[in-house]
Symmetry: C2
Subunit: 395 residues, 2 copies
């Protein structure tokens, strides 16, 4: 049996902004034998998860499931809908928006990247202005990251939809919800999104290994004329097989068992309750960061993330040294600062299967780490989180 070399007592605190802690119920659900993926028992599970996913994505349309990481689902969104040289409008919200843009270049697309302030997120007016300008409708798709995992800054997807509509622009709207789905309210149909990209390992509380495309009719229509080469990612074969609860190629059976259980858990709790829980944990976290006298990276009060909080390291202190101290002393993994934020921020994940006391342990680990790393801060900041929980208590 695999034994991780590090023997620490108690559970590791996995407080990166995903992959998140997999609940025992999901672990138990996955701990079942692989079955015939063309058989009748599988069909029941296949139909169930495809139906459940619609509720989670808040869509009436189909959701395509890939055995792949979220990066694969980004690629699927692009290759199914676009053709070589197509212009796509992207917005620099952070590390992951930048990676999506680089991917589009590698695939032979022509991204136009609106330079952005990572601390502010998407200024919708700039997207609107660019679409208004584009009278020739050269822009074929607008690609936005809903929740930048590298920064903890969200984008107002409904407002972007309105901007597209106001410009009477036919561009597709594609949204990355990898670190927001099932954590932050997200409405594929109501917000008129054409392709939603998501992964299994964050709010869905699963291990990595599955990713998703939720589709609008318009996206499906676009896929019929798209000329980028595609085979593994091609929606058409998958949608056809999915009608009967199957996949055209071997699906990740045990991850689908887990997905079924995770959807049950989310729907039992109620999606709105799930979102409210994440909001509450995020507020408690920010109150603590402020009480420490540190700065939340997100500088836009309307764009604060409920699934993670990126915290700025005071000048002269290295976030990675701090994270190592936390890991060595308190067996907790915090999120690293990515690309230009390397060493400058650390990220606290508070999404997925999580509760008040685990957040308190997390924040205590951060506060003790700040002390041990000699990072100036006001001690006792975690009391602010306790105050928040007491003020918003249920009983």
């Amino acid at each position: 049996m695999l034994k991780l070399t590090h023997r620490a007592s108690g559970r590791h605190f996995l407080q990166i902004p995903g992959p998140t802690n997999v609940p025992d119920r999901v672990m138990r659900a996955m701990d079942n034998a692989t079955i015939d993926h063309r058989g009748p028992e599988f069909q029941v599970i296949g139909k169930k998860v495809l139906s459940d996913l619609k509720k989670v994505f808040q869509t009436e349309g189909p959701v395509v499931v890939y055995g792949a990481s979220g990066t694969g689902a980004w690629e699927a969104a692009l290759v199914n809908t676009l053709s070589a040289g197509d212009k796509v409008l992207m917005y620099e919200t952070g590390h992951f928006a930048t990676l999506w843009k680089k991917m589009s270049e590698r695939l032979g697309l022509n991204p136009e990247f609106i330079a952005g302030d990572w601390r502010q997120g998407v200024e919708v007016s700039r997207v609107a202005a660019r679409l208004e300008e584009d009278k020739q409708h050269e822009i074929k798709a607008v690609c936005i990251v809903h929740n930048e995992t590298s920064t903890g800054v969200t984008a107002d997807i409904a407002a972007i939809r309105r901007a597209i509509d106001s410009a009477n622009h036919p561009a597709l709207l594609m949204v990355d919800t990898i670190s927001s789905l099932a954590s932050i309210d997200y409405r594929h149909s109501e917000w008129g999104v054409d392709v939603t990209v998501a992964g299994s390992q964050k709010g869905l509380m699963l291990p990595p290994g599955l990713s998703f495309n939720a589709l609008s009719d318009k996206a499906i229509e676009a896929s019929k004329s798209s000329r980028l080469p595609k085979s593994y990612w091609a929606w058409n074969d998958i949608l056809e097989a999915n009608k009967n609860g199957f996949w055209p190629y071997t699906p990740s059976t045990t991850l689908l068992y887990g997905l079924s259980e995770a959807c049950d858990m989310l729907l039992e709790e109620g999606l709105q309750n799930v979102f409210a829980r994440h909001t509450r944990f995020a507020r408690a976290t920010r109150r603590t960061v402020e009480a420490w006298g540190l700065e939340v990276f997100c500088a836009n009060a309307d764009a604060l993330s409920s699934s993670l909080t990126a915290v700025m390291m005071p000048e002269g202190h290295d976030a990675d040294k701090f994270r190592k101290i936390v890991l060595d002393n308190f067996d907790m993994s915090l999120g690293v600062g990515l690309s230009k934020l390397a060493g400058k921020v650390f990220r606290i994940g508070h999404l997925g299967d999580f509760n008040e006391l685990t957040l308190m342990g997390t924040l205590a680990g951060v506060e003790m780490g700040l002390s041990l790393a000699g990072v100036p801060h006001k001690p006792g900041g975690i009391n602010a989180a306790m105050n928040h929980f007491v003020e918003t208590s249920k009983f």
Copy 2:
């Protein structure tokens, strides 16, 4: 599949003083098929756990394993060594010492119960005086609870051994280590204990279901002339079968898988490290209790428990109402006050598979519960635990 009715996000905080949280490694080890308990594969496991247990009990002698709760192992200790009407000297340290005394009455023994102050624990001089008096050697056994789970007060077992020896008294020494084994230093051989009683569900990090008697030569000798009726509990058949790694009747196979893994974990960490970890968590807990302005139930500085802390509820406040508020709001179970302490104390378990951040979550849950229950206390007491961890940090 069993689904607990309560759907809370994240892991339940099981902070009673046992049963404790079962680590994933132990869960995985138990999650294997039942095998032939008379077969060669079982024999390897049987021999291994019987050998490992000697290290955990710090004994060279045999350790008998029962499929039973700790209460069963108490009974086994008595019925294997004593005869009807035998006088046993017991000490009222709390609820569990009292239960053991009641059991001895039901079994036809003649307990002499030294009335004790539950907050002070065993006054060894009183045991010594009673043994000195007993020139006829009517007392056949001295039965002591090492760590009173109901109070968080420990007894000095080595000192009791010295008292027996000073009196040149032949009484057997029997010790209940149900909530101390593998949490608080305990040395069966070095301290000259004749029968050590233990259970699986505390420091051993297993589910309930196994219990233990560690035996001295003298105890085995006594079992040969003991006349209390016994069959299930009889050591002789078990010791005979154990020589080959088997049991005379069906052993709890999957719990033994878990026991093997738990012993591996304890021995990998090193027993002294395990004890030091528990001591550190207990100190952090007590510093926090004091910072709240509340009182630790144990009033004897030499008898403080490392596996749990019982906290006195201020006059006019009900510990059980408080515990309910904590459970309802923060999904944490704290230990109930037992018999005469009902409603007057709550108990924080900090034993078993546990770490700094889980303790911080635990203490935060207590502090928030105190606020919600309107129990007077100084807010921010948990900062004292953080200070303790920072001052005693490893790196």
